[in-house]
């Protein structure tokens, strides 16, 4: 998540044109504390049962959102792009995401 934070201005235009929602199975208080401590600028959602994670892209292990899938939902509500799993430590993954966002946003 730190990579998202550090590239928030460039990737997500500081949240002005793109809404970033980071979702994990952590309890809400844990996410809120982490967001405060590490100063994440975006929204966190607590999916404690992993229900939403499974709905979007179930992982091989069943009871956790232990994968790093990324989806871009366009203004029409449709999935415009997915990277499953998201290669979180690979800089190219962010380059690819940025290019997709540029395209989706028509910029």
């Amino acid at each position: 998540m730190h990579a998202y934070r550090d590239q928030y201005a460039t990737l997500f235009k500081d949240g002005q044109t793109v809404v970033l929602i980071a979702i994990s199975a952590d309890p809400l208080d844990t996410l809120a504390a982490w967001a405060r401590d590490d100063q994440f600028q975006f929204l966190f959602a607590s999916d404690t049962g992993g229900v939403v994670g499974k709905l979007y892209g179930p992982s091989a292990s069943t009871d956790r959102v232990d994968h790093r899938n990324v989806f871009v939902v366009a203004a029409d509500g449709k999935i415009a792009y997915r990277q499953t799993p998201f290669r979180e430590i690979d800089p190219a993954a962010y380059t690819e995401l940025a290019a997709v966002l540029d395209k989706v946003l028509g910029r």
Binding site: M1, H2, A3, Y4, F12, V18, V19, L20, I21, A22, I23, S24, A25, D26, L28, D29, T30, L31, A32, W34, A35, R36, Q39, F40, F42, L43, F44, A45, S46, D47, V52, G53, L55, Y56, G57, P58, A60, V65, D66, H67, R68, N69, V70, F71, V72, V73, A74, A75, G77, K78, I79, A80, Y81, R82, F86, E88, I89, L97, L101, L105
Partner: protein, 76 residues
């Protein structure tokens, strides 16, 4: 003998495929072009816990990135 070997070979090839099928279907992520299913989840920001839950539909008309991640306090 040859037939027996052939059958053995076939089972070696087909068994893993069959075993994987239910999991593979279940583990497929939503495809591009699919309408993103709405959801309602409790939310938080760095300023604290949100009073209202997050609905994906709250952001209709905007571009939204859903980033599923493993666990808080991970360096990744």
């Amino acid at each position: 003998m040859r037939l027996a070997m052939l059958l053995t070979d076939l089972s070696a090839v087909t068994a893993p495929v069959l075993a994987q099928q239910p999991g593979a279907t279940e583990s497929q992520a939503l495809a591009t072009g699919t309408v993103a299913p709405d959801f309602t989840l409790p939310g938080a920001t760095r300023y604290g816990v949100l009073a209202q839950p997050i609905h994906l539909s709250d952001f209709k008309g905007q571009t939204v990135v859903l980033a599923f991640f493993h666990k808080a306090h991970s360096k990744l």
